[in-house]
Amino acid sequence: MSEAQRIITPRGHQDGIILAKLDEVLSLARSHSQWYLQFGLACCAIEMMATAASRYDLDRFGAMPRATPRQADLIFVSGTVTLKMAEKIKVLWEQMPAPKYAIAMGSCAISGGPYSRHGYSVLKGVDLIIPVDVYVPGCPPRPEALLEGLVLLAEKVKKEKLLSQKFSKKRGGAEK
């Protein structure tokens, strides 16, 4: 163990102090910069657009719309996910680069909503195909509700420790 490594990981600490602090700063930065992939499917998409427009202004949270999944951190699945569209969501999700998040917006995206019992062509919840981080209920949710979802996601991102996880994995440390 070199001197530098010892500073990064002092004895008795699973992830060193410096690493933990660094992680905190990086996660804070990431939580303030969530570029989103626009994925409007139904009426919720209108609310999503309203959120991005002047009155509610997603840009305040550092959220920029991106048309390509390669540059997005976040996908808003807003609206009824039909089985046909589900494939596309899956593909787009796979194309996003690693620390990626998903927000399911509206009843339809969360659980199929009105179609949850009898919708033969509707996916019963988008979390069946991609891991959803925050559920924003509503039919459709108010723009503020979506903003609240974004705040909730930022809280979640702030608590993440990507670097520590990576290093503990490299050292063969146990994962929680």
Partner: protein
């Protein structure tokens, strides 16, 4: 700054080779720092300008105050931490190379930006020609990116970008000739000295004659088109081509394209400042300004003035972006070949007549 340069020119007392290498590395880092700093400010500014125009707030959560001034730093950190995806069907070598070529071209242009009368590109006889010639290198990187991505939208974006940049380079070169007619030299120092007549802004080429004023406007239009910025952002039009030539790029690779785009805005600003706005000469010569305690240092330095003027042009470009809708492809070509080029040619002729009439030759 001058002291540092002469210190490096003296060789630091090291062997020639080492002095050279250290000098190159140090100055490259300085230029990189300058670009990075400028882009951090410019991206934030762009979001704020768009917010003002759309009656909203823009970034406000990231940062110490309510203005979100750390937003771009947060974005940069995030882009650094992103997964680096190289899709399987791409041409790996060119895919990796492309962002660096685009950025290198911009970087080389920045090396030639004259921040003062003693800067190398200022004394260099062909300083202006250098800026224009090198800025045409970036196209190759864009085509490379578009082709290597193996994605139809990337390819379309790259093709459009090339057609656009090649077309709009001609009016820029022609306007250059109109300016050079006055100064009689390609040297940046000479051009700025011609404008620095002691009458402040009335010495600028912008106000020399009515045709030069039109030329300045045409240069701004052509420069905006060179940068692929709205209303000429066909190469990355979101509604048609997803993100154009950088559709497949993630994380830092994308950041380099981003960096180059914003840095190019500054280059257009600098070019316009040199050609029409008096370059690094102060807007008005007031000796008393330089005596103000802290601000005097800014007012006294030539770098401050050229950056100020360039920033002004950058803000105008942002204003353009959030005002105009995108042009169609044929309209774009029409603008270049049927409006800009005939107009610039007419300007050259009329300029000559004007100079003959007023005995300026």
């Amino acid at each position: 700054m001058q002291g540092i340069i002469s210190l490096f020119e003296s060789g630091l007392g090291l062997p020639e080779l080492w002095a050279f290498v250290i000098g190159v590395v140090v100055f490259s880092l300085l230029i990189f720092l300058f670009i990075a700093l400028f882009v951090i400010v410019a991206v934030w500014l762009e979001r704020k300008v768009s917010a003002v125009i759309q009656d909203r707030w823009g970034p406000m959560r990231a940062g110490l105050t309510i203005q979100g001034e750390l937003q771009t730093i947060a974005d940069t950190v995030k882009l650094l931490m992103k997964e680096d995806i190289i899709p399987k069907p791409v041409d790996k070598l060119l895919f990796i190379l492309a962002p660096f070529i685009v950025f290198t071209a911009t970087f080389m242009v920045f090396a030639g930006i004259p921040l003062g009368p003693n800067a190398y590109s200022g004394t260099f006889d062909l300083g202006l020609f250098y800026l224009i010639a090198i800025s045409s290198l970036g196209v190759i990187g864009i085509v490379m990116a578009g082709w290597a991505s193996n994605n139809k939208w990337s390819l379309y974006g790259a093709m459009r970008s090339v057609a656009q940049i090649v077309s709009y380079e001609i009016p820029i070169a022609l306007i250059l000739i109109a300016v050079v007619m006055y100064s009689g030299s390609f040297s940046v120092k000479e051009i700025i000295a011609t404008q620095d007549t002691g009458y402040g802004i009335f010495g600028w080429f912008l106000f020399r004659n009515p045709f030069m004023f039109v030329a300045a406007i045409l240069f701004l239009i052509a420069g905006t088109a060179e940068n692929n910025r709205t209303p000429f952002d066909l190469p990355e039009s979101e509604s048609e081509l997803i993100a154009g030539f950088h559709t497949e790029y993630t994380g830092m690779r994308f950041a380099f394209f981003f960096l180059a785009e914003y840095a190019n805005m500054f280059v257009v600003g600098v070019l316009l400042a040199i050609l029409f706005l008096g370059g690094y000469a102060p807007i008005w010569h007031v000796a008393a300004l330089a005596d103000i305690p802290v601000l005097g240092w800014f007012f006294g330095s030539s770098g401050f003035w050229i950056i100020l003027k360039a920033m002004l042009v950058v803000i105008i470009q942002m204003w353009f972006r959030w005002t105009f809708p995108r042009l169609r492809v044929d309209q774009l070509m029409y603008t270049a070949w049927k409006v800009l080029i005939p107009f610039t040619m007419a300007i050259i002729v009329l300029n000559g007549i004007w100079m003959k009439l007023f005995n300026l030759i």
